[in-house]
């Protein structure tokens, strides 16, 4: 997908299993929304193939749309329309809609049903957007940043609801830039950065990733030049070293005591004073930083 000269999504290849929750994870501008909107038939890809429920989302859009639910990142309602009026309207376009009073109750919209859309809070607008995506009882829902702007309580409630959708056999594709959201909700995570897929897998697969330990080293003063290379030489070929910023580094390698000992010794030899040295299982955040870090260097 290109916008003018800018390539937004390139060579992205991913599959979504029916009845699963898939998270497309990436920083702002990574191409998440473009990917979703291509699946929803808003955009025609300049190259490659997209099939959603076996249909071409652009050429067979009319057949596809009744079967999917779409939550846009923002907007999507008249400014003067009341929340319940809007939900009822979308319901009326479907053959077997959910009961809108109960759905709005479920999403905590009961109190603002008569409030005009422009006066809803950001979180309320998000929840209305989610309700609009679900009311037609779709097989597949695309939700773009479902919890953006929500307070922690509404966020939890939304997570529960998305879990429930999976239990009822609805396929969910969501975008997020929250690692914890992807880790909590998704069966499969696709990490994309600058329009390219950089990793895919279940949260467990991604965080174990063959290497079982992560050491995060933060020092008091900026590292000397060439520090990552020098540390990698000291640690041996099985280890990956990624400099995160001037004072922190991520080291992933075999989980044995010698790695930690070697890092301490290297710090002493290079007159570097560790502020913190932590050892732990990799988090998705580590995976992401490591992967994009490589991309930045390469």
């Amino acid at each position: 997908m290109r916008y003018g000269d800018k390539v937004a999504v390139d060579g992205l290849s991913l599959r979504v299993e029916r009845g699963s929750v898939t998270a497309v994870l990436g920083p702002n501008g990574a191409g998440k929304t473009t990917t979703l909107e291509t699946c929803e038939g808003y955009r025609r890809p300049q190259g490659g193939t997209v099939r959603v429920l076996g249909l071409d989302p652009h050429r067979q859009r009319r057949a596809l749309l009744p079967r999917i639910g779409v939550m846009l990142q923002d907007g999507g309602a008249w400014s003067g329309v009341r929340a319940m009026e809007m939900l009822d309207h979308i319901a009326a376009l479907h053959a077997h809609p959910l009961d809108t009073a109960m759905l709005s109750d479920r999403l905590g919209l009961a109190d603002c049903g008569r409030t005009p859309y422009r006066r809803l809070s950001g979180g309320q607008q998000q929840r209305l957007g989610l309700a609009m995506a679900l009311v037609g009882r779709p097989e597949l829902v695309f939700v773009d940043e479902p919890t953006a702007g929500m307070d922690p309580q509404a966020r939890r409630a939304t997570w529960e609801l998305l879990d429930e959708l999976r239990a009822d056999g609805v396929t969910v594709v969501l975008t997020t830039h929250h690692m914890d959201e992807a880790e909590h909700l998704a069966d499969t995570i696709h990490i994309i950065d600058r329009g390219r897929l950089i990793a895919s897998g279940s949260p467990t697969e991604l965080t174990s990733g063959g290497r079982s330990a992560t050491i995060r080293l933060v020092v008091t003063r900026p590292f000397p030049d060439g520090a990552p290379e020098s540390l990698r030489t000291a640690l041996g070929p099985d280890t990956e070293v990624t400099q995160l910023d001037a004072v922190s580094m991520l080291i992933t390698g075999p989980a044995d005591g010698s790695t930690l000992a070697t890092v301490s010794a290297w710090c002493e030899r290079h007159d570097v004073l560790p502020e913190s040295l932590s050892l732990g299982r990799r988090t998705l955040e580590d995976v992401f930083l490591e992967l994009t870090g490589h991309e930045l260097v390469g």
Binding site: V70, A92, H94, D168, V170
Partner: protein
């Protein structure tokens, strides 16, 4: 809306029958139009002011218009103005902001097809226009309006034809403007065009009262609608040329809208 209780999200997708979708869209749009203060101003208040002010002014000056009482000429013109204000200006502005707020985009992901959306808009528009005409006719009668009763069938038939053709012409042009310009630019242009046509477009006053400019004016949709309404309600006549002009504008506007309309 009563539907399946939310004990389950188990998929059961499907589109409502098209006529139900269109009816829902029409109800929604009509309700929003009538709720909006600025649109009501345009739809009812300004035409009433023009009518009352015009009649009072003509009475004071003792003016006749081409041998007819002022009120008899002004009422058809003001009815034409009301059609123009809703079909062109209101539709253009509402659609422009629908695009801005992502409503059109959101509906583009719903089962409602593009022609269903347009059909819903047209039905909403016809309902609002009918409501406007009822109000203005009542005000006109109160001011002493006496439409011609020479040929009631011709008068009613020609009026309906003029309103339908005029609505189509102006609505298609309004949708075209909303499709190619930003919401703010649409707002400005739609109001400007409305004002210019109200004053100089041959809609409220007969084309013939503009002197040398009338030869050009009669090809404008505003003058064509005004002339067709006056022919029907003053002279009990079908102004075929004016109707034809409106139909050509409608065809051009529809073609342009179909070419340019997108969901975003």
């Amino acid at each position: 809306m009563k539907g399946t209780p939310v004990s389950t999200f188990a998929p059961r997708p499907g589109a409502a029958p098209l006529h139900r979708q269109v009816a829902a869209q029409a109800r929604m749009e009509a309700r929003l139009m009538l709720r909006n203060g600025e649109q009501l101003l345009l739809a009812i208040v300004i035409p009433v002011i023009v009518l009352v002010g015009g009649v009072a002014g003509a009475d004071r000056l003792g003016l006749d218009l081409e041998g007819h009482r002022a009120v008899d000429v002004l009422v058809p013109g003001v009815l034409a103005l009301a059609v123009m204000s809703t079909a062109f200006t209101s539709i253009a502005i509402a659609t422009g902001f629908e695009r801005r707020y992502g409503v059109i985009k959101r509906l583009g992901a719903s089962p409602l097809p593009r022609h269903g959306l347009l059909l819903g808009k047209v039905l909403a528009l016809l309902n609002v226009v009918a409501l406007q005409l009822v109000v203005l006719v009542v005000v006109g009668l109160a001011l002493g309006w006496q439409p011609t009763l020479d040929e009631p069938v011709t008068t009613v038939g020609s009026t309906v034809l003029a309103v339908a053709a005029g609505t189509w012409a102006f609505a298609s042009l309004g949708l075209f403007v909303a499709g190619v310009l930003r919401a703010e630019a649409t707002l400005a242009l739609a109001n400007l065009v409305y004002l210019l046509l109200m004053v100089g477009g041959g809609v409220v006053l007969p084309t013939s009262s503009y002197g040398a400019a009338s030869g050009f004016l009669q090809w404008l949709p505003s003058a064509a609608l005004g002339d067709a309404m006056r022919a029907a309600l003053v002279d009990a006549r079908l102004d075929a040329t004016a109707i034809l002009v409106l139909l050509v504008w409608g065809a051009v506007g529809t073609l342009l809208t179909a070419r340019t309309f997108t969901w975003e």
